[in-house]
């Protein structure tokens, strides 16, 4: 761990929150995708957060272990006018709910702000250490 460990830890949290925002943005962007019945639908993406250090160690920040993909069965819709529709006029649309995505986005935003706040406070703390004895 470097001299300013908590800055790196807060930075890892900011990176994680950024990944979360990105997946949420991707889910909202792909909400209206249409896939043919013989292909998988867009699966809702959710980042998986794990601690960076070994279990039982003092904090070492957070990292993104991977992106979990949701159900790719999607929702079967009847849309014969779509160019992707099969003979029965069915298509797959992603099982992504805008409401829960917006909630996720607010959570990711709050996560980002909390980590940025920790970063700012850690910087102030290090600076006040330098004023010891003056």
């Amino acid at each position: 761990m470097s001299l300013f460990g908590s800055l790196d830890i807060a930075g890892s949290g900011i990176d994680a929150a950024q990944t979360w925002l990105n997946t949420t943005a991707g889910n909202i962007a792909n909400m209206n995708d249409v896939s043919p019945m013989d292909e998988a639908a867009y699966g809702e993406q959710t980042p998986v957060f794990v601690p960076s250090g070994a279990v039982g160690q003092i904090g070492d920040g957070v990292s993104v272990a991977g992106i979990a993909e949701g159900d790719t069965t999607g929702i079967v819709q009847y849309d014969p006018s779509s160019p992707e529709a099969n003979a029965q006029g069915e298509v797959r649309v992603p099982d992504v709910q805008l409401g829960s995505q917006m909630v996720d986005m607010i959570q990711a935003q709050t996560d980002y702000q909390a980590n940025a706040s920790v970063f700012a406070d850690a910087k102030t703390a290090y600076q006040s250490a330098l004023t010891l004895g003056t």
């Binding site: 990176d15 160690q57 970063f119």
Partner: protein, 97 residues
Amino acid sequence: MIAPIPPIAPLPAAPAAGGTAAADSGGNFSGSIANALDQVQQSQNTASTAEAQAAAGQGSVTNAMIDATQASLDTQVTVALLDKGVAAFTDIMNMTL
């Protein structure tokens, strides 16, 4: 189950006599400050690289800001130590004999 946090290992023993402390700390004041300044230079180089990458759209802005903050704090630590050392020197120089 939550794994328990292991106890913190005891610190290495402090140097016994005051006379050997200076030799153990690895050199004189100017050498330490020069080393510290080298490290400040290194962290500023890291910050510059990160900023250039962020400006080119390759790195992340977050990392650039973190590296810049660390470089700034490194500089502040070194300057604070330098000020303290110079103040000590001035105090000795102003001693009335």
